[in-house]
């Protein structure tokens, strides 16, 4: 990797000052950024290490009033937090499947949310859209892990954060601080579909720092992921859901899917099926079917369509019943 300057500030103010320089990057666990730097996909001139900043670390709050995660909180801290496991099973399940023990010890909430896509054309230096001579390398090439939604454009990678999918299902907000002050955004607003090469898929600007994520009290929530192997890997498709119940009837639903689009994919089609109905496995299956109606897979990833259908159904069953019929008692 290219040589860079390094600083380890202990306050957010000092970090923002250091991030104000040209081509500076915030470094937390490094599990994504250092890999990109080694492959010369990202070559910052300065890395600002944010894990020494105490105000960014830790989990506060409770299930009733909501919880706040500091951006430099490690994923292991989430996995070991009994309150989160109880109140936000969707978040707990998603986090406990991320990477390996080593990855979860190192990586942080902010770093996971702002990691860059794993698309192999992007990682091999062909840019985020993977274009060459006006042609999409993704469309013509190996797209088995790429998007099935939003495939009419050129952004065909998939958003890499399963943590984001769980947090969006839980309606979480993020605080972003920068030279112009602080702003609060919904976690889904951290992402966008880039329209042209050079535009980032992230809305956090250079010089800004994600400082915390706040999750409101949640309804019945859960997550399910389909994987190629059980050990350290990204899911192929994953879904997190959050249902607000009035008695036995679903009054509000949030269904978010990972691995299918260049942004964490909120399925309003699935949500429409759920709202106003009593929950049953049949209704969950119906929601799964609705979730994939608009899917337009690429040449090698049609397998993701039935997979997404099943993953959404299973996430819903887990959210309401705690354990699915496919799991041991």
């Amino acid at each position: 990797m290219k040589a860079f300057e390094y600083a380890a500030p202990t306050t957010v103010d000092a970090a923002l000052k250091l991030l104000g320089g040209p081509n500076a990057a915030a470094l937390a666990g490094g599990t994504d950024l250092l890999g990109r730097a080694k492959d010369y996909v990202t070559s910052p001139d300065r890395m600002v290490y944010v894990k020494e900043i105490k105000e960014l670390d830790g989990i506060t709050g409770d299930a009733k009033s909501g919880m706040t995660l500091g951006a430099a909180t490690s994923l292991s801290e989430i996995v070991h937090h009994a309150g989160i496991r109880e109140a936000y099973p969707a978040l707990w399940q998603a986090t406990s499947e991320i990477g390996s023990i080593q990855i979860r010890n190192m990586s942080t909430v902010g770093g996971n949310l702002l990691q860059r896509p794993r698309c192999w054309y992007f990682r091999a230096g062909f840019g985020l859209l993977g274009m060459k001579d006006g042609e999409s390398l993704v469309r013509a090439g190996d797209n088995r892990y790429h998007a099935i939604f939003h495939t009419d454009g050129n952004a065909l990678f998939v958003s890499p954060s399963s943590l984001a999918v769980a947090l969006i299902a839980l309606d979480a907000s993020a605080k972003v601080r920068g030279p112009k002050g602080e702003r609060t955004v919904k976690v889904e607003e951290l992402y966008r579909v880039p329209k042209h090469e050079g535009e980032s898929e992230l809305t956090v600007e250079p010089g800004e720092l994600l400082t915390q994520v706040t999750i409101p009290a949640a309804g019945k929530n859960g997550a399910y992921e389909a994987r190629q192997k059980q050990a350290q890997d990204w899911p192929l498709v994953m879904s997190a859901v959050n249902l607000t119940m009035e008695g036995e009837t679903i009054s509000k639903a949030r269904v978010v899917i990972y691995g299918v689009a260049p942004i964490p994919w909120r399925s309003e089609a699935a949500e429409r099926v759920l709202v106003g109905k009593k929950f049953s496995p049949e209704v969950a299956a119906e929601a799964g079917t609705a979730a994939v109606e608009a899917a337009r897979p690429l040449s090698m990833n049609a397998y993701k369509v039935p997979m997404t259908r099943a993953v959404v159904k299973r996430a819903l069953i887990r959210a309401v019943q705690g354990k699915g019929y496919w799991e041991e008692a």
Binding site: E5, A7, P9, T31, Y49, G99, S100, I101, A231
Partner: protein
């Protein structure tokens, strides 16, 4: 286990990074304050110094296996390369160098990490443990690997031994399923997982019996 051979004995002496910064031109501005330091100033100074920008080559001190070790590195140097190439601590192995295979597994402040994807400069002031410091007698994790044939070519073994020890230290009553998940950040290309798992189970059993 192995005795450590400091490459640069003159560089040893427990000099902290703060002392180093004070003594160098980098900290000239803050050094003016030292004469009139009060508690508050000390704190402000610590924050100021922590925000110092390091570039080129910097001298760092790492606490490795109980010993303070100093060396010169660039900010981009990983903990793994620093341990192996500067400090002659060659237990952690460099294989994928991308935080995927686990051969470089090292324990930093009690937590298992991939040292290939950790910057050495960020480990100053932390406790670094590699498998050179592990007990090897009966009941230990290395002994269990030996007894249960937990290796073939052996290149992944230091990482697996470190991962097993870190996991069992925190989860002494782990079940087989939990151990499987607990060490799934490591890969063996020979495929000797059966032996590794037998070793991990034996080590867990020995720990319970101890």
């Amino acid at each position: 286990m192995t005795e450590q051979r400091p490459r640069d004995p003159g560089g040893l002496g427990g000099q902290s990074r703060r002392d180093f910064l004070r003594g160098s031109g980098v900290a000239a501005a803050t050094a003016v304050l030292t004469g009139q330091a009060t508690g508050v100033l000390d704190e402000a100074q610590a924050a100021e110094e922590s925000a110092k920008v390091l570039s080129g080559t910097v001298e760092i001190t790492l606490k490795v296996n109980g010993q303070e070790r100093s060396c010169e590195v660039e900010p981009r140097s990983t903990l793994l390369d620093t341990l192996r190439n500067r400090l002659d601590v060659t237990g952690p192995k460099r294989v994928c160098d991308r935080g995927s295979c686990g051969a470089c597994s090292t324990i930093v402040d009690g937590e298992l990490v991939y040292s290939c994807t950790t910057l050495a400069v960020s480990c100053q002031g932390k406790t670094i443990e590699t498998l050179e410091s592990f007990e090897t007698g009966e009941g230990s994790v290395p002994h269990a690997f030996h007894q249960n044939d937990g290796l073939m070519c052996g290149y992944c073994t230091p990482g697996f031994v470190t991962a097993c020890k870190a996991y069992l230290d925190k989860h002494p009553n782990a079940t087989e399923e939990e151990i499987r998940k607990g060490i799934d950040g490591n890969i063996c290309r020979c495929g000797t997982y059966v032996g590794v798992l037998a070793a991990a189970k034996a080590a867990a059993q020995a720990k319970k019996g101890a």
